[in-house]
């Protein structure tokens, strides 16, 4: 059985009448990126706050790195790093001072603090601009700096709350590459995101929550197969041929629209269907497999809990 770094058991949090998290139970394996997906207000940030001991659960419990989130929250915060929904940078301090401050917070010696600050700033390609005020940087650079700050004390576990939200394509790519490097180094990352492509690319496992409740959990490929595989076929004479494949066991739905046939299939391999279409007189020009985690996510969001 895989070693778990986070164990959550029926974790519940209420804010007055609002149930922000409702009996969440899951286990996060060590040494990979764990995606935590859900729409706004689903309970993602509340979950991170609970796991870091920033707020206390109304019911249930959780252990992070073996420490109870209520009784040993200080021990957890000592050992984890976080990039929360706001980057938390002191904009009137330089990038280097921001890092030195948090290095001092984690009680690194002055020489270690300087060495770590240099290392993490170099890793994100910003060492040359260390004396710039953090507030003068672009959002993408600030986000990379905040990510560097979260690792200044070399935590075993990182909580990242939508680290690429609001970033342009290039900055998002840089952050994702950095996260992938961290995962290769064996760090565990608890990543909340809206970006399904990001989750699909980075995460070894994902959990999907909605209205504070877990609606799916597993490897992205498992979620995809639950949702089905979407195939788009472009060609000619598809009208009659479509009737021929509707009753296939592996075709869930077939919709012909604007000369494109959209299939949802239980199997990831569309070639037998394509063969049937050709046999029925269709001329096929293009076949694309379009099912992404986003489709699975949207389907899960549409599922009544």
């Amino acid at each position: 059985m895989q070693d778990s770094i986070i164990e959550i058991d029926r974790l519940t949090r209420r804010y007055g009448d609002v149930l922000a998290l409702d009996g969440l139970t899951l286990s996060v394996p060590r040494g990979s990126i764990y995606g935590f997906l859900g729409p706004n207000g689903a309970g993602k940030t509340t979950t991170i706050s609970l796991l870091m001991g920033l707020v206390e659960p109304t019911e249930g419990n959780a252990r992070v790195l073996g420490f109870d989130v209520v009784d040993s929250a200080d021990e957890i915060r000592l050992r984890v790093g976080a990039l929360l929904d706001e980057n938390g940078l002191y904009e009137q301090m330089s990038a280097y001072e921001n890092l030195l401050f948090y290095a001092r917070v984690w009680q690194l010696s002055p020489s270690d603090a300087e060495a770590r600050a240099m290392k993490v700033l170099s890793e994100i390609g910003l060492w040359a601009r260390r004396d710039d005020l953090a507030g003068s940087w672009s959002r993408g650079m600030q986000q990379r700096l905040a990510l560097a700050r979260a690792q200044i004390h070399e935590p075993e576990l990182l909580f990242l709350d939508e680290p690429t939200a609001g970033l342009d394509v290039v900055s998002s790519r840089e952050v994702r590459d950095h996260l992938a490097n961290l995962a290769r180094e064996g760090k565990t990352i608890f990543l909340t995101t809206h970006n399904m492509a990001e989750a699909e690319e980075l995460c070894a496992r994902v959990a999907v929550i909605r209205n504070g409740r877990l609606v799916a959990e597993g490897e992205p490929s498992a979620l995809l197969s639950k949702s089905g595989h979407e195939v788009t076929i472009v060609g000619e004479h598809l009208d009659n041929a479509t009737q021929a494949i509707r009753n296939r066991y592996d075709v869930v739905s077939a919709v012909l629209e604007d000369g494109q046939l959209r299939l949802r299939m239980t199997s990831p391999d569309p070639s037998p269907v394509v063969a049937d279409l050709v046999a029925a007189g269709a001329s096929i020009q293009e076949v694309s497999r379009g099912t992404r985690l986003e489709d699975a996510f949207l389907e899960l969001m549409g599922t009544d809990s």
Binding site: L84, N87, F101, V105, L133
Partner: protein, 245 residues
């Protein structure tokens, strides 16, 4: 705890003069009073300056100004600038954050007071010190220092409580300024006027007793009780779980 507090104070010091508009605000609210009480007043009063009420303004008004300026910026400012949650997500204990920020404001005010007193004494001795060294009597000076620190601590406690409820730094600063400057300025003369009963002036008599040893002790005990209560309530309210929720 001490090391953690030192770290927070280091950060407060680094960011003190760098907030937008903070330099001009500090010049207007601190440098101008320092210049007036430390240079202009002593030049006008000469050696009499050490025995009149001016040193009391230096001991009370200046530190209050500093606390009113810096404490809300330190507490409400962290929230307004969206740095508070990250700070709370660190390993720093709540108490280290609270006491470091309180201590920073109080000792900044204290330092400003000492600087102004020294400046004033230099001016007095340079311009009107012909009859020997002019100094403030040691017992008066000690009393002033104790009262100054207690008033600053009391204001810092109030600043924490007000900052926790205020939406912005400016709102917290305005509320504090109203509590410590506007209300006493407006209400003081009115109360004095209303308390007059013919030639009998009970409030002025009360103030006169504050100069006696028993009166001084009463002032110190009263301020100590008030400052302790406010700081204790501030400590109760400055909780991670409340701030991060």
């Amino acid at each position: 705890m001490i090391a953690d507090a030192r770290t927070v104070i280091w950060k407060e010091w680094r960011s003190l003069f760098r907030q937008p508009g903070s330099r001009i605000r500090l010049v207007l609210t601190v440098a101008v009073p320092v210049g007036y009480f430390g240079i202009v007043g002593p030049l006008q009063d000469g050696a009499d300056w050490v025995n009149n009420a001016s040193p009391w303004f230096v001991a009370i008004v200046l530190p209050l100004l500093v606390v009113v300026m810096t404490a809300p910026d330190s507490f409400a400012g962290e929230r307004e600038r969206k740095t508070l949650r990250t700070l709370l997500a660190s390993r720093l204990p709540d108490s280290a954050i609270l006491w470091a920020k309180v201590a920073f404001s109080v000792f900044l005010g204290f330092g400003m007071m000492i600087l102004t007193l020294v400046l004033a004494l230099v001016v007095v001795n340079t311009t009107d010190g012909g009859n020997g060294l002019v100094v403030i009597a040691w017992d008066r000076l000690l009393y002033m220092i104790v009262v100054s620190i207690l008033v600053s601590a009391m204001a810092a406690g109030a600043a924490v409580l007000i900052s926790l409820r205020a939406v912005t730094v400016q709102q917290a600063q305005q509320t504090l300024a109203a509590v410590f400057f506007l209300i006493p300025t407006v209400a003081g003369p009115v109360v004095l006027l209303l308390s007059k009963d013919g030639d009998h002036r009970p409030l002025e008599d009360l103030f006169a007793t504050l100069g006696t040893p028993a009166g001084r002790l009463g002032v110190v005990v009263g301020l100590l009780a008030l400052a302790s209560t406010l700081l204790w309530v501030a400590k109760l309210r400055f909780k991670r779980s409340r701030l991060a929720a």
